[in-house]
């Protein structure tokens, strides 16, 4: 119990510290005092620049991290598969693909990008689900089909981009994160849909727990398994596609964070979902901050930093504990 409480407190404190540090550091530096005064009075020029350029990307990084991690938790519950993750099984690239497709052929509909993303993510998920269903979901088959779907969507997206390099959709990427040049309009979209998704995800935590039992057991308990699966999947797709639409592609975070969460706070989704949201936000905002300060003025995409620090950390955790998901 103390371990769980300690984990929560640690991740919340770290999140606060990193977020504040991220706000005051970079090519323009201010002190915490200057920042607070500036934010409220609007008289400090440096703080105004930070507000316009840096704050949106930080907020987006926080929400994208939370959304992707929780999306991973939900997909793992739905598919009972420790490897399910929006990046790996193609949900994110499906979302990115449809966004790019629409931006290529109907650039005037740019405003609806979040919607296209959601539809694209849902299509990709549906394809994975349908193709891997063969009187039950075989975890291995599912991952392989997910990888294939992911490859196809990523490939077509890259093709569209390279054949049309000058267009405005350069802000959408299916291979790496894009956190630069974010506006408060992007923040609005991310925060609105991200919050809806996160609140919904938390509301269905009991269903996610139920899915830890076998389908036939749940049937005999009168639980409508497929309905729950469908709804949880929709929430997961919403979370993954909105982050992809706004923040670009982060593979791995939906895999890494839930695993860390399971070792620290256990498999109960009542704790796992909020913990993953916090830890995911922490991870991406840390990665983004490192990315823009390490080799300044050059920027390293947050997704790359995250992969580099996340990979070894996951291996370390897996070596330390022999438990993987429910087995």
């Amino acid at each position: 119990m103390y371990k769980k409480l300690f984990s929560f407190i640690t991740v919340i404190l770290l999140l606060l510290i990193v977020t504040i540090y991220a706000t005051i550091t970079g090519s323009i530096k201010v002190s915490v005092g200057e920042l607070l005064v500036g934010l409220f009075t609007g008289t400090n020029e440096k703080v105004e620049i930070i507000k316009d350029l840096r704050l949106p990307r930080i907020i987006i990084a926080l929400f994208a991290g939370a959304a992707l991690s929780v999306s991973g938790v939900l997909l793992q519950a739905v598919m009972r598969n420790p490897l399910a993750e929006p990046g790996i099984i193609g949900v994110s690239s499906g979302a990115g693909f449809l966004s790019i497709l629409m931006a290529t052929f109907f650039p005037t509909l740019y405003f609806y990008t979040p919607l296209f993303s959601f539809v694209g993510g849902a299509i990709a998920f549906l394809l994975v689900y349908v193709f891997s269903w063969k009187s039950g979901l075989n975890p291995l088959r599912m991952i392989l089909i997910g990888v294939a779907i992911n490859a196809v969507f990523t490939g077509i997206s890259e093709l569209l981009k390279s054949s049309n390099a000058s267009s405005m959709m350069s802000s959408i990427s299916v291979t790496s994160s894009t956190l630069t040049m974010k506006t408060w309009g992007d923040v609005q979209t991310m925060v609105l849909y991200g919050s809806i998704g996160l609140v919904l995800a938390f509301l269905v935590f009991a269903w996610c727990n139920h899915l830890g039992l076998k389908d036939k057991t749940l049937n005999n308990l009168g639980f409508r398994v497929n309905r729950a699966r469908f709804i949880i999947s929709l929430i997961a797709v919403l979370l993954a596609s909105i982050s992809t639409a706004i923040a670009g592609m982060f593979t791995f975070v939906g895999l890494l964070i839930p695993h860390i969460g399971r070792t620290l706070v256990g498999n109960d989704h009542k704790l796992l979902i909020p913990f993953s949201a916090l830890a995911g936000a922490l991870l991406i905002v840390t990665a983004d901050t490192l990315g823009r300060t390490l080799m300044s003025p050059m920027e390293i995409p947050a997704s790359i930093i995250m992969a580099v620090i996340g990979g070894p950390f996951l291996i370390f955790l897996l070596r330390k504990s022999d438990r993987i998901y429910g087995n």
Binding site: N220, F223, R224
Partner: protein, 256 residues
Amino acid sequence: MEIKDISFSYQDKVKRLHHIEASIPKGKITTIIGPNGCGKSTLLGVLTNNFQPQTGQVILDGQLINKYKPKELAKKLGVVHQQNSAPNDLTVEKLVFYGRLPHKNSFAPQTEKDEEMVEWALKCTGLYEKRDYPIDSLSGGEQQRAWIAMALAQDTPYLVLDEPTSNLDIYYQYEILELVKRLCDEHGLTIVMVLHDINQAIQYSHNIIAMKQGRIIQKGDPKQVVTKEFIHEVYGVHVVVKNDPETGMYVVPLGI
């Protein structure tokens, strides 16, 4: 429970059940026996509404089983499957609380009745002291009892058990069987189960359904049904059937 003219095949179109007719007497223990692959588990799958038969009907308390709403059926019929899985850090008590799902909304808090039933189920299965243990720390027999406790918490008049004694050593086998007998005698539950051991089936059941190749060969009181010829027909094994005043009826296999 009435089973009427059930025929069933999986997607491969091979018929697994041929016109099964049987009736499960209320408040009694009915045991389904038969060789591997004879359709015992398939029949249980149909009885518990996990499989939809191509023909025939299962009638539970005057209503077709597939016409029940999922939760209503789950209030009538508890099932313990042969293979179960749950997250490894789930505690016994939390697992048993899943048995209360049919009686409440997933999002609603636990009521006093829920807690009473869970406590009863834990005590009945002798797991009350271990309620806070994660299930993967329990022995095989305790795990099996935990799953039975979950079905008991469902508070159903019918309980279906698929090979509840498989993979257990002889002590735990009898522990489970004694528990089943108590549930029937003291709490009036109607039990349907699959067993492999003929002597256990004779000892613990009021009613036997013997199957072979998707058909019912014999059914009724084990003392009348079980004979040397019957065992040879069902299993292809030569046996002697003895009646002993001390042990009752028993079967000793001789060979094939």
